[in-house]
Amino acid sequence: MKEYIFKNARVIDPLRNIDTRGDIGVADGRIAEPAALKNPQIIDLDGKTLTPGFIDLHVHLRQPGNNMAETIASGTAAAAAGGFTSVVAMPNTNPPADTAGAIEFLRQTAAQKGVVHVLPCGCMTKGYAGEEMAGIGSLKAAGVVALSDDGRCIQDHALMRHVVEYAKSFGLPILDHCEDKALAAGGVMHEGKWSVLLGMNGISGAAEELMVARNIILARNIGWKIHMQHVSVKESVELLRNARAKGIPVTGEATPHHLTLTDECIKKYDTNYKMNPPLRSEEDRLALIAGVADGTITAIATDHAPHTSTAKLVEFDDAPFGIIGLETALPLTYTELVAKGVVTLPELVAKFTAGPAEILGFENYSLAPGRVADLTIFDPDAHYVIDKKKFKSNSRNTPFDGWNVQCRVVMTVVGGRIVYDAR
């Protein structure tokens, strides 16, 4: 395998608390001391930032079932373009990833077509129907890194309790889409001033808050990790903050869109603002930002949810939930959080690296010599305009087309191979 030395980078390695100018060597797909390399290709990064590879805890690759919207090939290419070296593939495909066979298909396809690491996630329940526990032990044996019924939420608290207990015995973290079904029923946007003015059915913040509280109780009683996916309301942030202060093993992620947009955007009926959880109020958005800043929320995840333009070009009520996010996550969060002085660049990098790695239970996710050479390289000084036509994703459902942003991904390295290069 080719050897590289990435020279003159600003090296940020959150886990080891490193933020320094330096060189990183790569040999045999792993990080190596530059001095030890025999015949390296020198890549001068000229002050660009190099970090451990970004992990996205929340990606819908749509294959099998909706290859028109995304495939493992196109989704992982989009991930690479966004600086992600690992993506956790949500299991709500068609058919769902609720059996070892489905995980085997995902792993084989990813090995053949994938550009970045695809980390399989298995369903908690069969068909993610929330009724019967899936074969969690077999899923673990097949290689899942976590469990989730994403898109849906187990409503039966006794079943959820059993799933968490059972998952604990196999060491699998739970990633939960927190939503009380009855309170959210029929909703297409956040319940608040704008749903009331637009006459749309709302999804109340309480629908999320209730299930976050339920999960905190279960995590405390069982002593096992429950991660709250796409946290969107202020009250969920407060619950998480208090629970974490008490040492309860709960974590949360925020999406770039919940950090940058609010429900008011929906007044033009653009279905690229329709997602679940919905865009919330400005108060919620600010609370989420505060949660990211104070460490209550330790991961930024995209909830990359591709849909064809046909599927989205319909009445708002009828449009599917979700937007793509892999190729816009870093510039959006850099522009919103770092450029505005809310968090430092190393803090932001941690939300994409050490934070998600810890949630998945990965040890020593860093740039230490000997680690797999998964690297993300970007230019924080680059300003550009987001152009969805240039996306690698099969889909274009983004509300961020035309946005002026700062911080561009320059290069993505997966297992010592350069998989994306925008120099």
Binding site: G199, E315, D317
Partner: protein
């Protein structure tokens, strides 16, 4: 002023001046229906498609008559016989309609924003005949037309809207129209049907009927649908009538010259008793008459802005 919109989507979009201009134009058209020959050639040679993706009787009939009295050519389409049933998207359906060189599409749809969505993609004019719980601009215009006609002005009047505000496009349109023209708006009904978020745009929210109607110059009663009872918004229409219905007794709480309005169809003995519906304060049937004039004005003005 000069009318410049090819679409009428919601009163939220309009200025006070535009609303007044529409009402003034409607006054002229009201005279047409009072003539022996109830027809003018204003839209001769224009084609209007009435596309109702949600069932409607009174609004559709009112629009049809308005179009006929303006001498337009009319095609009526309903969802049951449209391609939506065969899986064609709404946008494809309306693009096909437009390809037939249609000038105006009058549409009703159950999804909020459906007309705004298609209007963005069409060069013909789009008139919103109701989009879910969002907007029903011609209904609000005819309500405000009736208020202005009876009371002489709108500014400074106290208007109470009573009933199922949460699910009502009539309420949402009236609120914007009335606020823009300077009326004071009170929304009343049980808290399950009257979201307090409306206070954020400067209307009063009230859960006590007496308080709501005591100083009202106009009381607009909205239809209570039985399916809301099944969905748990209130226990029974009987209990609704008891606490929020207008009857002989509760009528006494109002100013003697207050107007009783209702967009129809009325549920007798639920929102109001027959005595009230058919009594001297009621202008319910005049609303229907005025609806025709208002819709003629809307169609005439909007059609004038469609480029061909």
């Amino acid at each position: 002023m000069e009318w410049k919109r090819k679409d009428l989507l919601s009163l939220y979009d309009l200025t006070a001046e535009e609303i007044v201009f529409l009402l003034d134009t409607a006054e002229e058209f009201k005279k047409v229906s009072e003539r022996k020959v109830k027809k003018v050639p204003a839209l001769r040679g224009k084609t209007v498609v009435n596309f109702f993706v949600e069932p409607s009787t009174r609004t559709r009939v009112s629009f049809e008559l308005a179009e006929q009295r303006l001498s337009a050519d009319i095609v009526n389409m309903q969802a049951a016989v449209s391609s939506l049933r065969k899986g064609e998207t709404l946008l494809d359906t309306v693009r096909n309609i437009e390809a037939l060189q249609v000038d105006l599409v009058v549409m009703r749809h159950s999804a909020p924003g459906a007309q705004a969505f298609i209007a963005k993609h069409l060069s013909c004019g789009v008139v919103n005949a109701g989009d879910g719980a969002h907007s029903h601009p011609t209904q609000a215009l005819l309500d405000i037309f009736t208020i202005r006609e009876k009371k002489g002005c709108v500014k400074g009047l106290n208007v109470a809207i009573v009933g199922d505000i949460l699910h009502s496009r009539v309420a949402r349109s009236n609120i914007w129209g009335l606020l823009k023209l300077g009326a004071n708006v009170t929304l009343a009904g049980p808290a399950t049907l009257v979201p307090r978020e409306f206070e954020e745009i400067g209307v009063r929210v009230c859960h006590n009927l007496r308080e709501a109607i005591a100083d009202a110059d106009v009381v607009n009663l909205l239809r209570i649908q039985h399916e809301r009872q099944a969905a748990g918004f209130f226990p029974s229409t009987g209990e609704y009538a008891k606490f929020f219905g207008i009857n002989r007794e509760t009528l006494k709480w109002m100013k003697p010259d207050a107007l009783i309005m209702h967009p129809g169809p009325i549920n007798r003995d639920v929102e109001l008793t027959s005595e009230v519906a058919d009594g001297p304060n009621s202008v319910i049937l005049e609303q229907v008459t005025n609806g025709l004039a208002v819709r003629m004005a809307v169609l005439f003005l909007v059609a004038g802005c469609v480029k061909k």
